[in-house]
């Protein structure tokens, strides 16, 4: 087993373990911190996939922004998010069965295909290319995303601002 494989397995186990803990923990705040850990694990995977730039973005956006937002929200509603409350609903068992079956189906579908085992050489300069793509090939989606962010911002303020 090569080094990258070992690294993958270690990071993968940590990521999935953290993810499982996120959805099962009784304390929502713990969930939020574990979520940040999951995000970090995914960032490491991105490094394994030769995209350190994306790993940095992952850390910035997911850990720096989304996790923090979530923790804020938990703090704001802390009274009802107290650790002693049961955090799973009445359909959890059925959900578990569904999730496991879904995983079975997806895993079967992905494994039956003959995917390439090895990477090819990287054909583009990922960071520079990405920068060019956003103002070139993907200029339109880029603009759309900026408008979406604006709308989300305006909407979030309208809905959540203190009276």
């Amino acid at each position: 087993m090569s080094l990258p494989q070992i690294l993958f397995l270690v990071v993968g186990v940590i990521t999935l373990g953290a993810a499982v803990a996120v959805v099962t923990s009784r304390n929502v705040l713990h969930s939020a911190f574990l979520l940040a850990l999951t995000f970090f694990g995914v960032a490491v995977l991105y490094v394994l996939l030769d995209t350190p730039y994306l790993a940095a973005a992952q850390v910035l956006v997911y850990i720096g922004a989304i996790s923090v937002l979530i923790i804020f929200a938990i703090m704001l509603s802390r009274k009802v998010a107290a650790p002693h409350l049961v955090q799973r609903n009445s359909q959890w068992l059925l959900s578990l069965i569904v999730a496991v079956l879904l995983f079975g189906v997806l895993a079967y579908l992905t494994l039956q295909a003959a995917w390439p085992a090895a990477k090819q050489a990287l054909g583009v300069d990922a960071i520079g290319g990405l920068g060019e793509a956003f103002v070139g090939t993907y200029a339109l989606p880029f603009e759309v995303v900026s408008v979406v962010l604006l709308v989300a911002l305006v909407g979030a303020i309208i809905i959540a601002r203190e009276r």
């Binding site: 929502v28 992952q58 995983f103």
Partner: protein, 102 residues
């Protein structure tokens, strides 16, 4: 060398964990975390496919970046809605939010 299928299985697992979280958490914020897991699973898929199948183009990479941006926008709106609900109802338990039915 890590085979592509390993990444895909990891993505599928993360996706299903997210689905379970979405279906089973009582707390709206918990459900939102499940959604974030789903989006991360998709991103793993996208980047892995990009790296192994079309490393000479940027499509998958760009797609993943856009998904991140949209995830942030979605989280902002979602959390705003959760806070609004908390203000009017004093709860973030989704099961208890069921005035509308029939």
């Amino acid at each position: 060398m890590v085979p592509l299928s390993w990444f895909l299985i990891l993505g599928a697992a993360l996706f299903c964990i997210g689905v379970y979280g979405v279906l089973s958490r009582r707390n709206a914020i918990g459900i939102l975390m499940g959604v974030e897991l789903i989006l991360n699973a998709v991103n793993i898929n996208l980047i892995a496919f990009w790296r192994y199948r079309t490393p000479d183009q940027l499509t998958g990479l760009v797609f993943a970046v856009f998904v991140m941006a949209i995830a942030a926008a979605e989280a902002a709106v979602g959390l705003a809605l959760i806070i609004a609900i908390y203000r009017t109802r004093n709860t973030v338990i989704v099961e208890d939010v069921d005035l509308l039915k029939m």
